[in-house]
């Protein structure tokens, strides 16, 4: 019996891996999306708007199935067209990470866009006046200041992203949700195993919340708050 619990703990490592990798993808996409939306160039703005609108209108599970199953067939079609006889299978880990990262990139886009807009324009203008290029301005001036504004939204997105990783069990990835389902079917004690998994998720989300709150305090040092 304890062997099942040990294997679920192993699956928890996979859950952490999927969520962190997906977070990295979503941060990159979110920054690109926010840059596109704020660029003021109509094609870029339109592209980013279509991205955030479509992604937020379709269930994560449907997108994941579309990318995992549809992507496999699409790739194989492409290979056949190119005259290759090889066939590929999309790795469920890669599909899960890319889908979750792609979805939460849309939410991150909105969070980052709002955060960048909250920084007074004079900050970037002063940096240009000092002769900094746009990349350096972003890294040295905008990024450190936008963290504080982005953290509340970022925290929300991260918590939802963690919970969304449970969906990768439905495309066959052996994360803790999948292992709990297997253990439950094998031992006829499904409640205990799912409860154990739920407790691990709760631990993960609580620890994240605690860490991000500490980070928020760190980045809000020196900010004066009005007292009502």
């Amino acid at each position: 019996m304890s062997g099942y619990y040990a294997s679920i703990l192993q699956g928890a490592l996979l859950t952490v891996g999927v969520s962190l990798a997906a977070l990295a993808v979503s941060i990159v996409l979110g920054l690109l999306g926010a840059a596109a939306k704020l660029s003021g160039r109509p094609p870029l703005v339109a592209l980013a708007t279509v991205y955030t609108t479509l992604i937020r209108g379709i269930p994560e599970l449907v997108l994941m199935l579309l990318i995992f199953y549809g992507g496999t067939i699409g790739l194989n079609h492409l290979l056949t067209l190119m005259g290759s006889k090889a066939s590929v299978d999309i790795n469920p880990f890669v599909a899960g990470v890319l889908t979750i990262g792609f979805i939460y990139g849309a939410y991150m886009t909105e969070t980052f866009r709002g955060a960048i807009l909250s920084i007074p324009k004079g900050q970037a203008e002063a940096a240009w006046a000092f002769g900094m290029g746009s990349l350096r301005t972003f890294l040295r001036i905008t990024l450190p200041q936008m963290v504080r504004y982005a953290l509340p939204g970022f925290t929300n997105n991260w918590l939802v992203l963690i919970k969304a990783t449970a969906l990768v069990s439905l495309i066959g990835l052996q994360d803790m949700t999948y292992l709990a389902l297997q253990a439950g079917a094998a031992t006829r004690e499904p409640f205990n195993f799912h409860l154990f998994t739920a407790a691990l998720f709760l631990l993960y989300t609580s620890l994240s919340l605690w860490a991000l709150r500490a980070l928020n305090r760190r980045y809000s040092l020196g900010v004066k708050r009005g007292q009502v």
Binding site: G57, V62, L66, G70, L159, A180, F191, H194, A198, L202
Partner: protein
């Protein structure tokens, strides 16, 4: 691309059946969830500390764990208990726990109640102190002030955040497809995929259905906001 197969009458009917399940699951869990959320929000803002703790623990657990696992706990997990197994064949109300739709409905209602309760409690706490003082000055009791002053305004102010929750719930109903006995839009797509091996067309069609419902819901909420939040709109002159 074989869109002609998706548009065969039999397959469209499958999507239609799925759509009915999705919409009824959404509607029912929103109604049940709203009632639970109201009770939970009153407990969260109550002056009785143990009520606050219980409600707070409830929303903490619901919001900290994935809905998929909550669904598994109810659909697969409860079958572990012998006293339930002894009853669910004939004794009301336990017979419902053998029904997949009921299990999904229960999981979704409990879930949306947790999220909605926190929004509603936030709006109740944000009610301006002057309005409550005025109610007290008029001689209203706590219950009267809650019913006549606080709730009508708090419910309206929750509307924008609640529209997000409704869209999230629509998307969450796709998890019903993880329960083998359910046929929602997503499981209809999965069946068509496995019968015809057309994953791209099958899931893309499902995605379009969800997009259409999402946009209609967002539009409806915009109308509702214009009607119920007119007093909070920015002045035009």
């Amino acid at each position: 691309m074989r869109w002609d197969i998706i548009f065969q009458p039999g397959n469209l009917a499958l999507y239609g059946d799925g759509l009915i399940t999705t919409l009824s699951l959404l509607g029912a869990s929103l109604v049940v969830g709203a009632v639970l959320a109201l009770l939970c929000a009153l407990a969260l803002t109550s002056s009785i500390a143990p009520l606050r703790w219980v409600a707070g623990a409830y929303t903490f657990v619901i919001r900290g764990t994935p809905l998929l696992i909550q669904l598994y706990l109810i659909y697969y997990g409860l079958g572990q208990f012998e006293w339930l197994q002894a009853r669910w064949n004939e004794v009301w109300p336990w017979i419902y726990f053998k029904d997949a739709f009921f299990c999904a409905l229960l999981a979704f209602s409990l879930n949306t109640a947790g999220y909605t309760a926190e929004m509603l409690a936030g709006a109740i706490r944000e009610t301006s102190a002057g309005e409550i003082e005025a109610a007290q000055a008029m001689g209203m009791t706590r219950g009267q002030a809650m019913r006549r002053i606080v709730l009508p305004s708090a419910l309206r102010r929750t509307l924008p955040a609640y529209s997000n929750e409704v869209v999230m719930m629509l998307h969450a109903t796709s998890l019903a497809s993880a329960v083998p006995a359910m046929l929602d839009v997503t499981s209809a797509a999965s069946r068509i995929y496995s019968t015809f091996y057309l994953p791209f067309e099958a899931y893309l069609f499902a995605a379009c259905i969800y997009l259409l419902i999402t946009f209609s819901l967002v539009g409806l909420f915009r109308l509702a906001e214009r009607r119920f939040l007119a007093h909070l709109a920015p002045r035009t002159h």
